[in-house]
Symmetry: C3
């Protein structure tokens, strides 16, 4: 597919300078861009690489001296990453799934498919499921009993959605995402060592060894509009009520959301983050990769964690956390600095003790 610079700029709402009729067929990094590519050189650092490539057109920052860079046409992008969003949406060639229902798909007669739904090869749609208009169900997907999925969803291959899960519009799921798994919830007939440890912060007491008895999940998962779930991520059913993911939330690959968790809107959980059962999360919470959240706490609106943070207690709104256990990022930075000086500190203290003892004062 080919675009004029004019077409791209108009679609993104940006200004063109130079030859607006010049055509490009794809986006490229400046150093590897050819004459038919649109080089992405939205900062001086990237623009330096233009000399290694052969770009004639580029997307640049507003006051860039593009003629000096040897370009013939440019699009001026005021906020580079926002420009990337529009441009990549426009140029996305997708996964190439055919429209319509693939003959190998297994669709229960009681399932209702909206207008223009496409279903890939070997997908399974169970009894009572309802799929909104325009949704794309990828190859090998499984849609469970009585699932409700909104309009314009895009499910990549091998996504599974368990019974009674309800999902809003424009849902997007990467390969192997698992929605609606049974919650991980067990109990022992008598009080267990693990229960005692929670109360005492370390003491198992005299609890005896016992087998685990299962608590079944009667709830399912309820997901809002505009949610995206990453590859092989998992979201478990609630115990009595549904686990809830709010509008606009984005979950990365291998993220785990336990039973009964409830999130607000526009949260972002990066890769391999794990959220234990019954955590309440506000709006616009951002958790860095490999963040862990202990069960039964709350995280206030707009809280942010750095990658690897282990959150072990309630987090007030707006707090920025880091470390294990997670504390304020500024505090943690101070702690890290101090830790590195610890071995030296040890020596200082030994020396001080010696000096003070020389003074003949009993400590």
């Amino acid at each position: 597919m080919t675009y004029t610079i004019e077409e791209i700029a108009r679609a993104l709402g940006f200004e063109v300078q130079g030859d607006a009729a010049l055509t490009v067929s794809r986006a490229a990094e400046p150093g590897s861009a050819g004459p038919d590519d649109l080089a992405l050189a939205m900062s001086p650092r990237y623009a330096e690489e233009l000399g290694k490539g052969n770009a004639r057109a580029a997307m640049v920052w507003p006051d860039a001296d593009w003629q000096a860079m040897g370009l013939k046409a440019v699009i001026l992008a005021p906020r580079p990453r926002m420009a990337m969003s529009g441009l990549t949406r426009m140029m996305d060639r997708g996964q190439g799934q055919s429209t319509g229902i693939h003959p190998s798909a297994v669709i229960d007669p009681s399932a209702e498919l909206g207008e223009g739904v496409s279903v890939g090869p070997l997908a399974v749609i169970s009894a009572g499921a309802r799929i909104g208009a325009g949704s794309v169900i990828g190859p090998h997907c499984f849609i469970g009993w009585d699932v409700v999925l909104g309009e314009n969803a895009v499910l990549r291959e091998m996504v599974s959605i368990g019974a009674r899960v309800r999902i809003g519009d424009r849902f997007m799921a990467q390969p192997g995402a698992r929605i609606g798994n049974d919650g991980f919830s067990y109990v022992t007939p008598e009080v267990s060592g693990a229960e005692n440890v929670r109360k005492t912060m370390g003491d198992q007491g005299d609890a005896k060894a016992q087998s685990w008895v299962r608590i079944h999940s009667l709830g399912a998962v309820r997901i809002g509009d505009d949610v995206e779930v990453g590859a092989n991520a998992t979201i478990d059913n609630g115990t009595i009520r549904d686990t809830v993911i709010g509008d606009g939330c984005k979950l990365d690959n291998l993220v785990h959301v336990g039973h009964n968790v409830r999130t607000g809107r526009d949260c972002l959980f990066a890769g391999q983050t794990g959220i234990s059962g019954s955590v309440e999360i506000g709006n616009n919470v951002v958790l860095g990769g490999q963040t862990g959240v202990v069960d039964n706490i709350f995280i206030g609106d707009g809280a942010i964690s750095a990658g690897g943070t282990k959150i072990l207690s309630n987090v007030p709104a707006g707090r920025v956390l880091m470390g294990y256990p997670g504390v304020k990022m500024e505090t943690q930075t101070e702690i890290y600095k101090a830790q590195r000086r610890l071995p030296r500190l040890m020596k200082d203290i030994a020396a001080l003790k010696k000096a003070v003892s020389k003074l003949g004062v009993s400590e």
Copy 2:
């Protein structure tokens, strides 16, 4: 489905007070319970929410003043979570899979299916596999060559079980669980830097860069009775003998169990826990979410780790661990407290040094 309060109480072995003939159709949280729900109000904290809902019946703690709560019938539950177990098992509507063999399933003629086995759409059962009576093989499941699966298993969708894996009775696997993957085991022709680092705790020596050569897995996985494996969890084959998971073990979502690991009975591994190769684990070991266990160590009976713990050395029976590296929870709590005071401590020591130097004593 509808139940009388009498029926539920009798099934759980609990006492009824009030109108035992009153019927309910589902369980609900007190604040959202309607007149046909059984509200779960097993502690005063939950009972407070009853006023927001319209429950007529509830499960409450033994000496609750239920008439004052406006209820007409109650079931008295001495240990709330145990009551949850029985009640949720009774009310679980399941995933709605039809009984029998779905015509789209691909079953090798040499596979043996016990009485009442049901196989979901597009499942594959390979040559020589044996499935015990009453087991449910979910949609898109894969059962490998010569696999033995016991009675009354429940496999949710897209579970895979590799060749020669043997599993006991009442096995439960969540979507995307992977049993019997090849172990992750490589060697370099000459000693590698990583091998030297292990010995020296940090020095690569003069090892040269080399490519990795694969060690194949000749063993498989052997799993006891009453085991549950979470969504997208992975259990690898052993190298020479089988990897072993004991009776009654419960593995949460995205848990990883490496090759040659051997666990005792009734262990519980929470979400995203990772166990490296050749670890020996006792009975009733509980690992909190995102626990990591280094290879070739042992963990004694009844040991417990808090979420996020990295276990880098042998753990005696009954030990409760926390932190990276994992140490006794009490010790770790002391360390955390001290860490937070570290920046201030630095200042104290600087001041002390100054004061002592003023005294004219050489440190």
Copy 3:
């Protein structure tokens, strides 16, 4: 299958002593080896267990006194793990997939399959895909649009490879591996709190709450020769160019590789390691289990991280890291030791302060 000791030794290039015509049918650990097994007793510690079993033949270290161990034939292995590689490759019975194309597979007519390609039941191969000679596509696999996969690949069950991914020869993928997922990349219309936090190391500034806008992935994934990807691991597409995995890299189960990551050759990433977007990794880098790598940094050739390390800044070549944040392993070991003494240190300092104050010196 049965092998003479002679056959095995010749295949591995090792010396035989004793009865070279003796036959064995499998490898076994010394303590459980029967008369038809080859016991693996390559170190004195393992050889001790021979007495518990009934082995007649064993693989032992070069100067082992094997007659004294009651053996009739031995193979002398100079580097035990290398010997394991050859032996296990020889004895691997595989997963038992039939050759040829299973009739239930769904293969687009425009896909090109090389000579001897085998395709398992219910696999899907999309339009324009090209599969090299001798490759094995497992049951329930999905090969996307225009994918290029080299010769002699082995894909276990339920592997998915997205559109336009290109992979070299001898690729191996464990069950549920996901290659070519959309990258996790979002932007807010105006500067977000998370962006401010990165710049200020902790301060969100006055950024307001906003919804996330998606950046699509125009790139795919390019993988070299001799790469292995673990069960349920995920590798995301690049944004503009491809994500790149170099020749000979080995990724363990549940590893996550973000968009735009580029690795050199012969890297090894252990279980549950997570690499954020746009990280540049050299050759022969070894990351221990549950390592986390922050985005947009580089890791030099031959760097090594211990399990659980969180890498938050650039890593020079050859560096050995440990901890959160990852620092030199020697330094971290010192820090750990000092941490354990922290609670005592606190008391020492309090005592010193008191002593100095007694001296009447203003600190």
